[in-house]
């Protein structure tokens, strides 16, 4: 790294904040001490100072502004990351989530003083119920994976109430990694269902279904972007043996206003508000993963469930059957606020158009790219896809070019790459989810870039192997990072 601030043009370098520290500087003005100074007993006090960096306010502003400039985000360009639904995050929702009437309220203040917040929770629950066809929704889980844990715990509690928790959960091999991880966490053995041709077939489920199976956990539309057409038959097979059906709602963006999962035999599901309902991903979070259930499972839900009586919104005390809480307080409330604002802005027609345009965009990409990139299954080739589609690097492999090279080269062209190497059943997968908020011109540019890359694979393999070239750092040594982990700064 050069000594000056400039790296390349106006791309500015930033040392670690700790390396900028100079004794005696500070960046925050605290109120003066207006009461007598007290000190706790020496035996309890900290012996060595905590060496936080000593920097000025401007230094902090420049530091984090420069860091931000090294990130790619939706605000900068297309982010077609499959299964992640990287759609535009409306700015107005950010402003609404920063209203003091939402930020400066305490979860333990009396209910009468939080009526606005409780009403919002109440109305959001009802909107999610209507969209999904589920009877009740708990807004507590902090993220999709925590929603899964809640869902699986509910399944367990339901079976326990019948006298036998059962042992196994069936999960298709196309599932997100969180699905099996959540089941193990809840004490279940995972049985992987091998899918044929990208679709879950009822006869496969029938073969595996027995009285030890607590539930089938599926994703619909699935991670290959296909709607599970046999869903109702499959649900019946599971129900007939006393099992329950869980749906990972990660791909809800494809079907809003088109079908309701609750009408397809799904008993429990989670939503990803940070996908479908446009709350920002924030470089990792926070999200929210509400869990919806059919009536029969409602007694097992965790709080907060808000009821309205005599014009007052009240938190409904959970019964003895509730699985209990999975996090403190009422969930990621300020994320709920953003999702609420999004749903209110769009309403029923907006949500349906959202799904329609998401599906249109994905199919358009598939149509334009299918000659340049391989589609892994006949079913993907034959049917329209839903909100996303999956290609492979099969055609490029003959030139020694892999999915990773394609992804890295796409960075040079100004796009975030698709999800790569997932789902695991597809060798060299490139999973593209454009979302509804990308325009035709943006998508055309993305597709043109991918076609260019497939040509480069033939003509100039080196260009791909050494990509990215235009980013602030080049290919990163992940092997070195894992062999000798350096996980914090030390002086």
């Amino acid at each position: 790294m050069s000594a000056g601030p400039g790296r390349a043009g106006l791309v500015l370098a930033a040392e670690l904040i700790f390396e900028k520290s100079r004794p005696g500087r500070h960046g925050l003005s605290l109120p003066a001490l207006d009461v007598p100074l007290s000190s706790p007993p020496k035996a309890l006090t900290r012996k060595e100072d905590c060496n936080l960096p000593e920097v000025s306010e401007l230094c902090v502003v420049r530091h984090f502004t420069r860091l931000s400039s090294w990130n790619f985000g939706i605000d900068l360009g297309s982010y077609p990351l499959g299964s992640c639904t990287m759609k535009y995050n409306p700015r107005v929702n950010e402003a609404i989530a920063q209203l003091p009437g939402f930020t400066n309220i305490h979860p333990y203040q009396p209910e009468e003083l939080s009526q606005g917040a409780l009403r919002l929770i109440y109305e959001l629950e009802h909107a999610l119920s209507e969209i999904s066809g589920m009877d009740r929704v708990s807004l507590q889980p902090a993220a999709g994976a925590q929603g899964e844990l809640v869902g699986v715990k509910i399944i367990r509690a339901f079976h326990e109430s019948k006298g036998n928790p059962r042992k196994k959960i069936l999960i298709p091999d196309t599932a997100h990694g969180t699905n099996p991880a959540s089941c193990t966490l809840a004490g279940y053995e995972v049985v992987t269902i091998k899918t044929e041709n990208g679709i879950l077939e009822s006869h496969t489920v029938a073969k595996l279904m027995d009285n030890d199976v607590a539930a089938l956990m599926l994703t619909n539309p699935n991670t290959l972007g296909l709607f599970e057409t046999e869903i109702k038959e499959i649900a019946k097979i599971v129900h007939d043996k006393g099992g329950l059906v869980y749906c990972d709602g990660a791909n809800l963006n494809a079907i809003m206003g088109v079908v309701k999962l609750g009408e397809l035999g799904i008993d429990v599901m989670h939503f990803n508000l940070h996908k479908t309902f446009s709350t920002p991903h924030g470089g990792g979070g926070p999200g929210a993963g509400p869990v919806g259930v059919k009536k029969i499972l409602a007694p097992f839900l965790p709080s907060p469930l808000v009821e309205k009586s005599n014009g007052l919104y009240k938190i409904y005390p959970v019964g003895k059957n509730s699985i209990g809480r999975v996090k403190g307080f009422f969930g990621n409330f300020l994320v709920l606020v953003r999702a609420y604002a999004y749903i209110r802005a769009l309403g029923a027609p907006g949500l349906k158009r959202t799904s329609q345009m998401a599906v249109l965009n994905a199919n358009y990409i598939k149509a334009r790219l299918k000659d340049s990139y391989d589609l892994p299954f006949d079913e993907i080739e034959k049917r329209p896809c839903m909100h996303e589609t999956v290609f492979t690097d099969k055609k490029q492999q003959q030139y020694g070019v892999t999915t990773l090279d394609i992804a890295k080269r796409l960075l040079d062209k100004g796009f975030h790459p698709p999800t790569i190497y997932f789902p695991l059943v597809v060798h060299g997968a490139l999973m593209i989810e454009p979302t509804e908020t990308e325009s035709k011109e943006e998508i055309d540019q993305l597709v043109d870039s991918l076609i260019e890359i497939s040509n480069e694979a033939k003509e100039n393999k080196k260009l791909l192997k050494e990509a990215p070239h235009n980013t602030i750092v080049g290919r990163v040594d992940e092997v070195g990072a894992a062999r000798k982990p350096k996980l914090r700064w030390r002086p």
Partner: protein, 456 residues
């Protein structure tokens, strides 16, 4: 209002390229009999001006804490989430779209901003707690605590069971129970408190005889009291169990000894106090720190320093084989999405605060809390049930009825804290009161006077 940019002409061209007649054809794989016949029953869409005024109206119904808004009251309410001053810079920087609208940094070449910020967050947490290694954040303090208990069982494969102090935040206790609900109840042992409000070490010693895998102690505890960590950790280590220390207001670490320096094996907690709003309880930001030797049993993401192919320093997600997207059913945790932006806010806040600022902040909190205690101690209708050292939160006992006093204080313009009887029926008429740097002396005096007027 929807956010789709498609013109009619775009739609036509795209459908032609796909080779279908209309949008409905794209959904032809969904059997007709399951398709919705009518529109969803949701309120009418709102254009932005109406959306904003509707949400402002909803928010304005809520009573806010200490912000001089139209419905604001002076609040002394903490109990696991604390109102501290948040510098303007924090939300200005964390609200930048480049941070806000990025996904998990799976492509390090275009995510160095997020990655370096997380690396700095990991360092901050290590510095504060006195531990070797910290992850990129957990959902909150409660779930981080439950994850720590699970991790202890991965370290000590031959042991089973957890001991926790009853002075651990009651919701954290509940979350541990939920995460481990498929366990026998004999695997949970609870330890009571002494007259000082500290964990009862004699009971702890006894509980350790059952050879549990983990012991969980919160300090400052739910009653605001600094626990005798040194003595407790010695006992725990002697028994071979994993010592988990919880801290849900780490501003206290500017004044009190870091748990890592006292020998904690895992330190978890809540970093909301650093630059994050209370926000009706979330999103907050859990932290998770441990010793180097346990790093491969940790849950959650880790960012590591490495080099790129041009010889520059670079950061990347690392040790990912612990995680669900690779190890699936055998992962150390199912966590995927975490609390990225909240962790970023904490990092920005801690950068501004600095070494001296942290000490000052902790001292302000301690001194103001002691000052309010000294004022209240002069009042006859109040007593202090616990004698232990507190940080910025303490318990007092009213002689009269808690509900009446609470209601009267609200009329006087105060939210006086939280009553404990909801979680501890054996502690009726006890109030948990939190004081931070945001409370000027005058408010502490006015509160004391109000309490004098209404207490019976």
């Amino acid at each position: 209002m929807d956010y789709t940019p498609h013109t009619e002409k775009n739609i036509r061209e795209m459908l032609d390229k796909i080779g279908v007649k209309n949008i409905d054809d794209l959904f032809s794989n969904i059997p007709d009999q399951i398709k919705l016949k009518q529109q969803l029953d949701l309120p009418q869409p709102l254009p932005e001006p109406e959306l904003v005024s509707h949400c402002k109206e909803l928010s304005s119904i809520n009573t806010t804490l200490n912000d001089k808004g139209a419905r604001s009251l002076v609040g002394f309410i903490g109990a696991g989430t604390y109102q501290h001053f948040i510098p303007t810079v924090v939300s200005q920087l964390a609200g930048r779209g480049e941070f806000l609208t990025a996904y998990t940094p799976y492509q390090p070449e275009v995510s160095q901003g997020t990655l370096q910020a997380v690396f700095e967050f990991q360092t901050f947490i290590c510095q504060l707690t006195g531990m070797d290694v910290a992850n990129a954040s957990m959902y909150d303090g409660a779930s981080a605590t439950a994850e720590a208990v699970l991790m202890a069982h991965r370290i000590l494969k031959n042991r089973c069971g957890v001991v926790f102090a009853l002075t651990l935040h009651p919701e954290y206790q509940e979350v541990i129970r939920t995460y481990l609900s498929h366990w026998e109840s004999s695997n949970f042992q609870k330890i009571g408190w002494t007259s000082s409000g500290e964990i009862d070490l004699a009971l702890l010693k006894k509980a350790l005889e059952k050879e549990p895998a983990a012991v969980v102690i919160q300090s400052p505890n739910f009653f605001g009291i600094i626990e005798p960590l040194k003595e407790a950790l010695e006992l725990i280590h002697k028994s071979g169990a994993i010592a988990i220390v919880v801290n849900n207001n780490p501003t206290s670490l500017g004044l009190f000894e870091a748990p890592g320096n006292l020998g904690a094996d895992i330190v978890v907690g809540e970093a909301q106090a650093f630059g994050n709003e209370i926000g009706f309880g979330g999103p907050h930001v859990g932290f998770f720190a441990t010793k180097d030797e346990f790093v491969r049993t940790m849950p959650g993401r880790l960012v590591g320093e490495t080099m790129d192919n041009r010889g520059q320093r670079a950061f990347t997600l690392t040790l990912s084989t612990r995680e669900q997207h690779i190890r699936r059913e055998r992962a150390t945790s199912n966590i995927c999405t975490n609390q990225g932006i909240c962790a970023l806010k904490a990092s920005i806040y801690l950068s501004l605060l600095g070494k001296e600022g942290l000490k000052q902040l902790a001292s302000l909190n301690y001194s103001k809390s002691e000052f309010l205690k000294s004022l209240l101690k002069k009042e006859g209708k109040i007593s202090f049930p616990f004698s232990g050292t507190t940080y910025n939160e303490f318990v007092l006992k009213l002689h009269g009825n808690e509900n009446e006093t609470y209601k009267k204080l609200i009329k006087e313009g105060f939210i006086p804290g939280v009553t404990l009887s909801h979680w501890y029926p054996e502690l009726p008429n006890h109030l948990l009161i939190n004081v931070t740097e945001i409370h000027p002396k005058s408010e502490l005096e006015r509160f004391t006077e109000a309490l004098r007027r209404v207490a019976t």
